[in-house]
Symmetry: C2
Subunit: 679 residues, 2 copies
């Protein structure tokens, strides 16, 4: 076998090197040296082991290859050229606007499962793909992950090592391109291959150390790695950054730097000149083009719905709904971060243990595994406390770059968890999840709404997020109510409503309590359930606010920034603004332990606080004190409406000086009074 491959592989490796240098020089940027170090590793892999049906990149039996060191994209693109997926012309569009060949690999480029470029993510995603292959599909594909040595400093890599051992992922092979040099200098371990191997073995892996430029050694290592086993394998390959180009080989200062034209020409010459071979892979092609083991059933969904008024925590409803969804759809899988008895993902686990994956306290790995399952067509839900999803924010961000469809659930949101204190209170999750491209952010207030939204999430593309509450809350909605994404619900309404109260989740219940008290005091309040925080119900909220003459109280169990308040202001204060006087009740100081009612009260987001805010917003807006429209004091209105109205610009500026906001009002009045509206 070795005799056969070595000459071909040497040629292929040279072509990969030449093309890595060429594309990055054409781009004027990129990472040629990080590509050169791994060229031999990838040449042998392609030539002899990688089972890729390059004519059908979507063949579900294809091996998966993840460039966890995504900055070595020139090498990946050179590989795709070598198998005919990318043309020579396209290769030279590297990093250009509109090219598929971006700075770091991004789907939907063929053979690219996920975006990489944030280091330490490829291996955890590989764990997810391997889990699916082994446990859900019984599929023959292998998962190959090319690791950089710098990224071995990321804890997430060790989460992956830990989980791959626990789940005995013999179908996972990591190739460590140990080229010694990071971006700004040597890595912590340099060329200490035994240290890496020892760590891998301590984490239960098989480890093989080789010279990463010796095709025979590489070949032998791969052959050993693919031997039937229950153990994942790490191949520690000692390499030289910039290998093959003497100008840059093993030199500092050449990370992420393209060669100039002259240097490039010299490098190509040194590498033996241009090559444009399109090779045939030697490994047997995938057995079939049929997805192995994916037979999604489609039984009718029977959500467990509760009687209105029953007290059920939304986190419990999440678990119940997951189990119902799991019964209806075999493509639904669930992951949890060792808190399934708190998030209630355990209800699904008990019903479908074979589709539940315990990710232990490793939120980064949990989200990455969900992304990996999505690569294999699974509808993955992943849950932990909302606060701890912040641990995985970089993974969530990258999942969006990967165009992955992933469903996340954060439980124990807000100060309303009470006694456990601020470390366990998710107070930034809405901000975090809103600021994800294309995300959907849902925050149910009752069990039935939760159930419906969980069912909806199964079909939401992109990153969707469900925020659940620890405390039991009464069911508000009958079983026949629907909750479209981007909708809202009006829970209290009368023709004489004087204020709109907007809440969601736990604060909706406080809003309802406040509204009941206000009604007794003769202050009818409209109550809006903004369960769809993103997209927010622009139309519904604007209509309510206009119907209550702009008096608004928004109340949320979240920091004041980035959550429901910002979402509401976004729909009121855009290009086509709606007049609104908004009091925004949110958590504005570090909370502490206490009972849920104490913590809600201390944060100023309970029913009492809402009642006071309504009183204040109506008082501030009362005609006898301030202008209804612009908030200017009433005395200034008289000045406008009466004979003292300023007619010259100087007068207007004088008025302006008394209070900036008045000027706009004056101008408007002038416009009306002097008939400046021509039609």
């Amino acid at each position: 076998m070795m005799k056969k491959i070595t000459p071909e592989v040497t040629e292929l490796a040279a072509q990969l090197r030449v093309d890595s240098v060429r594309s990055s020089t054409a781009a004027g940027s990129g990472h040629p040296t990080s590509s050169l170090s791994a060229a031999d590793l990838m040449a042998v892999l392609m030539q002899d082991f990688l089972r890729w049906d390059v004519r059908n990149p979507k063949n579900p039996n294809n091996d998966h290859l993840i460039f966890s060191k995504g900055h070595a994209s020139p090498l990946l693109y050179a590989m795709l050229k070598a198998v005919g997926v990318v043309s020579n012309a396209e290769l030279l569009t590297f990093r250009r606007f509109g090219s598929r060949l971006q700075g770091h690999p991004v789907p939907p480029l063929p053979m690219v499962d996920v975006a990489t470029g944030s280091l330490g993510q490829g291996l955890p995603v590989g764990v997810g793909i391997a889990l699916s292959g082994k446990y859900l599909e019984n599929a023959p594909y292998r998962v190959w992950v090319l690791l950089g040595d710098s990224e071995m400093s990321e804890g997430s890599v060790w989460e992956a090592f830990d989980h791959a051992r626990y789940y005995r992922l013999g179908n996972l092979i990591a190739i460590l391109d140990m080229n010694r040099l990071g971006q700004r200098g040597q890595t912590p371990l340099g060329w200490d291959a035994p240290a890496y191997a020892e760590r891998a073995r301590a984490f239960g892996w098989r480890a093989i150390t080789i010279d990463g430029h010796d095709p025979i050694a590489i070949d032998e290592a791969y052959a050993e790695a693919v031997h039937e086993t229950e153990q994942p394998t790490l191949i520690v390959a000692q390499t030289v950054k910039g290998k093959g180009v003497s100008l840059v080989a093993n030199k500092e200062g050449w990370h992420g730097k393209a060669l100039d034209q002259e240097q490039c020409a010299a490098a190509i010459a040194e590498l033996g000149g241009l090559r444009n071979a399109v090779i045939e892979l030697h490994a047997p092609p995938p057995i079939s083009t049929e997805p192995p083991g994916i037979t999604p059933s489609a039984k009718p969904l029977k959500l467990p719905l509760e009687e209105v008024g029953a007290k059920v925590a939304t986190r419990k409803a999440y678990g119940d709904a997951l189990a119902a969804l799991g019964a209806a759809r075999s493509d639904v899988v669930v992951l949890d971060g060792e808190v399934s008895n708190s998030t209630y993902a355990e209800i699904f686990k008990k019903a479908f243990p074979e589709r539940f994956f315990e990710m232990f306290i490793a939120e980064q790995q949990m989200v990455a595994a969900a992304v990996g399952m999505n690569v294999r067509g699974r509808v993955a839900f992943a849950s932990t406390f909302a606060a701890f999803l912040s641990r995985a924010y970089d993974f969530i961000r990258m999942a969006a770059v990967s165009r992955a469809n992933v469903r996340l659930c954060g439980s124990h949101a807000g100060v309303s968890i009470g006694e456990d204190g601020p470390s366990q209170m998710g107070l930034e999750d809405l901000a975090m999840m809103r600021a994800v491209e294309g995300s959907t952010v849902l925050y149910p207030s009752c069990a039935n709404q939760t159930a419906k939204l969980v069912a909806t999430m199964a079909d939401i593309p992109g990153i969707s997020y469900l925020r659940t509450t620890r405390e039991k809350t009464p069911v508000l909605y009958a079983a026949n109510e629907d909750f479209p994404v981007g909708g809202s619900k009006v829970l209290r309404q009368s023709p004489r409503d004087r204020v709109t109260i907007i809440g969601a989740g736990i604060t909706l219940h406080e809003a309802l309590a406040a509204s009941d008290r206000l009604a007794k005091e003769g202050v009818p309040a409209r109550v809006i359930d903004a369960y769809s925080v993103k997209p927010i119900d622009d139309e519904g909220i604007r209509a309510a606010v206009e119907a209550t003459a702009g008096a608004v109280v928004v109340v949320e169990d979240h920091w004041a920034e980035g959550g429901l308040g910002d979402a509401v202001r976004e729909c009121l204060g855009g290009e086509d603004p709606v007049f609104a006087r908004v009091i925004h009740l949110a958590v504005r100081a570090m909370p502490s332990s206490g009972t849920p009612q104490e913590t809600l009260r201390a944060a100023g987001i309970d029913a009492d606080a809402i009642v006071h805010a309504v009183q204040r917003v109506l008082e501030t807006g009362a005609e006898e004190r301030l202008c209804y429209l612009c908030g200017a004091p009433a005395s200034w209105q008289i000045a406008v409406a009466g004979e003292d109205e300023p007619s010259t610009e100087e007068d207007a500026c004088e008025v302006h000086a008394r209070g900036h906001r008045h000027l706009a009002h004056v101008h408007a009045h002038e416009a009306h009074q002097h008939g400046r509206h021509p039609n």
Copy 2:
């Protein structure tokens, strides 16, 4: 030594157990079983090794003890009672509102350096404290970290192992309470002590495995750990969760659950009854109460300021300013995540290598180390790409809970980085950092502004964040300009400004270009530099918006959610709203590689896009088409201003039905016309 301590320690351990059970039963919640498992470990530590000056908790030579498993707070509080820091009465306030004894430990409770409760953070913080002790202070204190076994699944723990080895932190001792049981079942490794030890050794640590309930073995292990060495030590202590209380010992289903009154009474009896000893620690007290090695110099600060018009990247200015700050203040330390040649933290590194700490690609450890340095009174700045700070969000969140003062810098913000593509573009950092309690978020546009803001950050309490840009941008501000937190700058202004353009950082330069073009077209625009994103300059922005009659364009190189747009709307659309028609230009679709100008253009946030937005906002707001104040069509204005004005509620509702937003306008006009403003 052993003969002496064993009986005392047994008594102390029993008291710690009794008090752990009592306090949690009094609270009705908490984690007694997780406390019981570690009681012997902590009893021996206190009695014989912990160098605590309990009469002076702020003695800088005190040993540090971090409960990384923060949920074992009942044990910590029992320890504080045993040394007289907490009374018996206070112990029973555990988890009550207003008590210092929160669900998870939080400063400023004496002896508590940082908040814990998000697992896997105590050891990385301990690394920061140990780094300061070894490298900055040459101090004798030791750092003890009590680890839970569940948290060994968190990658951040292994980042800490890696860094502790690299920096040879012999002053760091981790005690692993290996009680086998997590929250919902067994941990991945259960009672496999050799596996933990092997991992620790592979990461370069000394590892000792013991029976965690054998005081003599514990004592011997500690004695070995404190031997002079360059190696950090992990003590793997096999323990029983719930040890000493047969009802709960080694039982599933007892995590985070208090005993009821009856169970508590039985447990106390089983443990030998109540005890209220206040003990004297045997270890020699700290040598002095003087901070070792902290001699902050206070030389005058000489910031390197540039000529107006010079082109300098703000990231470069960050590095230059850090070096200047380092020269003026010896308490300034800098950490970076292996990208110091990109963030320019390397300028500080070159000037003050002894105060620079390379954290490699381990952002969680980087932020945790900054928190640890803050515990030791250091003014720590930590930098990486803005995108990669998302990796450490949970650590940033917890730093705020810890009341830590930490300065973060995120470089390479936004699509303007160009060719590297979306994985490297920080587009959620403003949202993320705004949603941190008490945070300060700064986003400079030029080198001089950056320098001044960096200097300011040194004295900002809490979590402060500086966002820098990859591209070179012209210096806008002269050396004598100041940039207070909460301020803004007006860069273009005339009495006839028709629109306010609000930008920051890279988009400010686009705004200036747009403004110059608009001026030529006879559309004077006010340009605001909102460099202080949080707190935002409420007054300044409102004044500008009012002066331009509500026409506003906000432009930011960030997702549309949670950033500058939300901040601006927050100051316009509150309780005292300002009329504004806001066009918000932000990144609304996944960007790709390209030149910076291409990516800015594709995102719709370049000068062209701003010019178009200004034209649109003025067109929409033009008097001949729409009401100046409320945006209603002009025809409706006539209806209001003229004789067709609705006077009955039915008419008003009819008008309302034609367009919600009109109603408010009608009401206001009625109020004016009918003199309803009495004074």
